[in-house]
Symmetry: C2
């Protein structure tokens, strides 16, 4: 089995936990590793979840297809990120989204009971892990709010400006690379791809921005 300790060391769930402790925590927390191929479903809407997941390798999309087949991408998960944590609370119902691997991926599963319940053994880090969990979900919360900020704009152009200018702020540059292709960006912003493509070109003609593939330059 591939050694993912260096990855977990940098994962938010284990922030503040020493290298040597991670290995012991893996068994203490009952960690399981699973691998997925590109395009494979990791979680499906309607399932129930009792594990907190940490992406060790690859990347994932959180998405949802509605009754009419419109797909909306709610977010993207990169290596080291936690997910599923919003659905392990006792009263939480079923999953509201699919999670799908956009590349070949490896994922750690941690049983939430063992994460949250402080054990009497050597693991001195449960409190810290629960705090990390809280901070991680806080961050996800904020990014959901930001996404809501983009989507609640009225026109496609405003949505694009809102999204791109925030990316520029995040990446601290007017040259930005986005993690989506056109269809995915359209799904993320909940607009029609061709209409969005059209709007992007109009904005380019007006000199608002330049782009090539998924790299953009704002003015």
């Amino acid at each position: 089995m591939k050694d993912f300790v260096p990855v977990l060391k940098r994962a938010k769930l284990f922030a503040g936990v020493g290298d040597e402790d991670i290995t012991s925590m893996l068994s203490c927390l009952g960690a399981k590793l699973r691998t997925y191929e590109k395009g494979e479903y990791v979680l499906r809407e309607g399932e129930r979840l009792s594990d907190i997941l940490v992406l060790a390798e690859g990347s994932l999309h959180i998405q949802r297809d509605d009754y009419w087949g419109n797909r909306s991408i709610l977010g993207r998960i990169e290596v080291g990120e936690i997910f599923g944590e919003a659905y392990v609370a006792p009263e939480s119902g079923m999953l509201l989204n699919d999670v799908i691997a956009v590349e070949d991926s490896s994922i750690f599963f941690f049983d939430v009971k063992r994460v949250i319940t402080t054990c009497s053994s050597a693991c001195r880090f449960h409190t810290m892990v629960v705090q990390n969990l809280f901070f991680a979900i806080s961050e996800k919360n904020r990014s959901l709010v930001q996404k809501l900020g983009h989507i609640s704009k009225r026109t496609t152009r405003e949505k694009l400006i809102s999204y791109l200018s925030e990316e520029a702020k995040k990446q601290n540059s007017s040259y930005i690379t986005i993690p989506f292709n056109r269809q995915q960006l359209a799904d993320y912003l909940s607009v029609d791809r061709s209409a969005m493509s059209n709007e992007l070109c109009k904005m380019r003609n007006e000199g608002l921005l330049e782009f090539e593939k998924n790299r953009f330059k704002l003015r």
Copy 2:
């Protein structure tokens, strides 16, 4: 000072904490109570926050006005609910929304450091409070995702159906009362009020639903 212990007893933050312990925790956690008049701002976009807030009385709106003055309502806070918890993480930046009192309201402030840091004294409940905090933010997370589900629908009608049918599911009835007036509902769904009003009447004419003020009946 009004006795809010019965309210706090039912608040999610203190679930599982005995009545008599709440009083002692209030001082241990350094709780402060503030009152706000209807229409007054509780928090403003751009501020930094180091307290977790619990609404003891009244009701609040989380909202945001964009550059062009379009208001979007991100959610509503009722008595006993926690808020602000997503912005107290160490790396979290400034608030992304305003919080405004829609009625005269009373709010408890808890310094996050004292909530999260386990103290050595009599408070045996810090662990439980941190867990409650985690479950509360999980729930908020899920409701954000649900709202995203509504807003990411393409047409006003689909947004309305998505929102109303979910309310019906929540309230477990086809007769539902919504906590918004027309303008607020339009802000919540990020659509134009008059267009939405128009669409609602069309749907009524088509026999999809009936309504009077903020009470709806679905078919």
